[in-house]
């Protein structure tokens, strides 16, 4: 039994902004059914002001994945794209009143979905995006070095176990754990990219 905060359970029981958005002009789709969670984030962005006017979600996943997506929609509505992109997974966790560490990857998915939706709005196609996203480190859960660098930096992570909790990377076959450790050391030593 997970020790979810009251807020997580509230957003799971009564999700805000749930559903598709027919007039969305930025849609972010992240995760995979095989991995156990998928998040679709729909944004309606005003092209003049770049303000996010509407945001909705649909999620396949656990209570914390649903709650993370729902609270993210509330966080981004009314913000400009650039303001919204400053939202990190840490903000999502804080807004939810905390998450069990093993569920941090749900909040990371939220920030990934947001980035994907903005990329979609800006016309950056998934293929180009993959190049931007970097090299695949964890094949089991399709996690790239860019994402690992990002969570290590933003959350001051120091161990492989923490990276697994935040991104799932290394959580299945474990063959990429040495590579994850290298990335942690690299980021924490101050060099952000290779």
């Amino acid at each position: 039994m997970w020790d979810y905060s009251d807020k997580v359970m509230d957003y799971f029981r009564n999700p805000r902004n749930m559903g598709e958005l027919p007039d969305a002009n930025g849609v972010g789709k992240v995760g995979s059914m095989a991995c156990g969670d998928v998040m679709y984030l729909y944004l309606k962005i005003n092209p003049e002001t770049e303000v996010i006017e509407k945001a909705t979600f649909k999620t396949f996943g656990c209570a914390s994945a649903i709650a993370s997506a729902s609270i993210l929609t509330e966080l981004v509505i009314g913000k400009t794209i650039d303001e919204a992109l400053k939202i990190t997974n840490k903000d999502i966790v804080e807004e939810l009143g905390g998450l069990p560490q093993a569920k941090f990857h749900c909040s990371v998915m939220g920030s990934e979905a947001l980035e994907a939706a903005v990329n979609d709005y800006r016309g950056i196609k998934p293929e180009e995006k993959e190049e931007l996203e970097g090299k695949l480190v964890c094949r089991c859960f399709a996690v790239t070095d860019k994402l690992i660098e990002k969570v290590v930096r933003e959350n001051h992570l120091t161990t492989v176990e923490e990276v697994t909790a935040y991104t799932k990377a290394g959580g299945a076959c474990g063959s990429c754990k040495a590579e994850i450790k290298e990335i942690i050391d690299r980021v924490n030593s101050g060099c952000q990219t290779k």
Binding site: W2, M9, F12, R13, P15, M18, G19, K29, M33, A34, C35, G36, D37, V38, M39, Y40, K58, T59, F60, G61, C62, A63, A65, I66, A102, F141, T164, K168, G171, A172
Partner: protein, 389 residues
């Protein structure tokens, strides 16, 4: 309303079992190894329980029963105890152990430590039905095989393995046979005369005894070396002062379970079948258990397009208790190894819910569950990007 449909996880203690235990937690507190008259009732309680547990297995002798602290201890003791016992009397030529792909972690997680100790561990696959094909054991077994350890019934699906045939094959090559019967106990007959396994594990809390008690059946003459160092208890096979109250409870639970077997296979099965038929009438729901070779109390069903933890938490909000094969319900990131082993795609393994009944399950609980589940599934599906209902 409250519906407890998670009896493969644990069961309620039968009132009669608790009654049997209480004197030994109160006034009859003596150590059964003591010499005085005051120890007589605990000694008698141990004897009575040992006979009841032996009868539950249809074992020939009371001394073929060893009390342990739980199912996991029974499994570890069985595997290590028998292997060490064999090693003590042979030249180490038997260096292989065969298990299956769907074993409970109590057996499955022995694979690595066994390999570290120099054993070769072979893992039998299951077919699409989630059953072991005896031919796979025929292919895997060699003159070097020391021990075959295959569960009698699976905890997640309830599937019943062909233990009789597997035992014949093992014995045919001179190997010993252990079966983890934790989930078979109390649901189907455990008859070691008809199915002559050498070692068998059970756990008390799955059959209406409390947590913290288990037992092993160890056929007379089976090589065995004690796993725990210490006193002479259990004929030197399991040291530690006997947990008299819990042993007394386990004996009573075994007596009751044996008597209740016909009820399990009629009334409990009827309720399980009713629940299963009702749940399978929900669109895009699939049965993961085998229809025929299965314990009468268990059904495992995937509800496509949604994830198990979300289903369970919504069920919990309605007072309905069950389990899931989804990764999200545990610290692990991968879904049920049992369901993946039988070839279920990961997305359906994440969607799996296990319902397990007991002889205390009431028809109202089933009716209530059948009333609530379609609403719960519909609500979570409405949030899923894959649901186009």
């Amino acid at each position: 309303m409250f519906a407890y449909l998670d009896n493969n996880a644990t069961t309620q203690v039968a009132p009669e079992v608790l009654e049997e235990m209480l004197p030994f937690l109160k006034e009859e507190f003596s150590n059964p190894s003591s010499m005085y008259e005051f120890a007589r009732r605990p000694i008698k309680a141990l004897e009575r329980s040992r006979e009841a547990v032996a009868a539950f297995f249809n074992a020939s002798y009371g001394d073929e029963v060893i009390f342990t602290s739980c199912g996991s201890e029974s499994d570890s003791t069985a595997v290590w105890g028998v292997l060490q016992g064999l090693r003590n009397i042979s030249n180490g030529s038997r260096s292989e152990v065969i298990i299956s792909d769907v074993e409970h972690p109590a057996v499955f997680n022995l694979k690595k430590p066994l390999e570290k100790r120099g054993y070769t561990v072979k893992v039998l696959p299951v077919d699409k039905r989630g059953l072991i094909d005896p031919d796979s054991l025929r292919e895997a077994i060699t003159e070097k095989t020391a021990l075959v350890s295959v569960m009698w019934a699976n905890n997640e699906t309830g599937n019943v393995m062909p233990v009789k045939e597997l035992t014949e094959i093992a014995h045919g090559k001179g190997a010993l046979m252990h079966t983890d019967a934790v989930q078979a106990a109390g649901k189907i007959p455990l008859d070691v005369q008809a199915i002559p396994v050498d070692v068998l594990s059970i756990s008390g809390h799955k059959i209406h005894a409390p947590k913290g008690i288990g037992a092993l059946y160890l056929k007379r003459g089976t090589p065995f070396s004690s796993f725990l160092a210490g006193g002479h208890q259990e004929r030197g096979r399991r040291a530690g002062t006997e947990n008299v109250a819990f042993i007394a409870g386990l004996g009573k639970a075994c007596l009751m379970a044996k008597e209740a077997l016909p009820f399990e296979n009629s009334e409990v099965k009827r309720l399980r079948d009713k629940l299963e038929a009702g749940l399978l009438s929900i669109p895009y729901s699939y049965l993961n258990s085998d229809r025929e070779c299965r314990t009468p109390n268990t059904t495992n069903i995937s509800f496509e397009f949604i994830e198990g933890e979300a289903i369970l938490l919504s069920m919990s909000d309605k007072g309905i208790c069950a389990s899931t094969g989804s990764a999200c319900s545990s610290e692990s990131l991968e879904p049920s190894h049992v369901l993946l082993a039988q070839g279920l795609p990961a997305k359906l393994a994440h969607s799996a819910v296990r319902f397990s009944l007991s002889r205390y399950t009431k028809e109202e609980e089933i009716d209530y569950t059948l009333e609530e589940m379609p609403k719960i599934i519909a609500r979570i599906r409405s949030m899923s990007p894959f649901w186009k209902g």
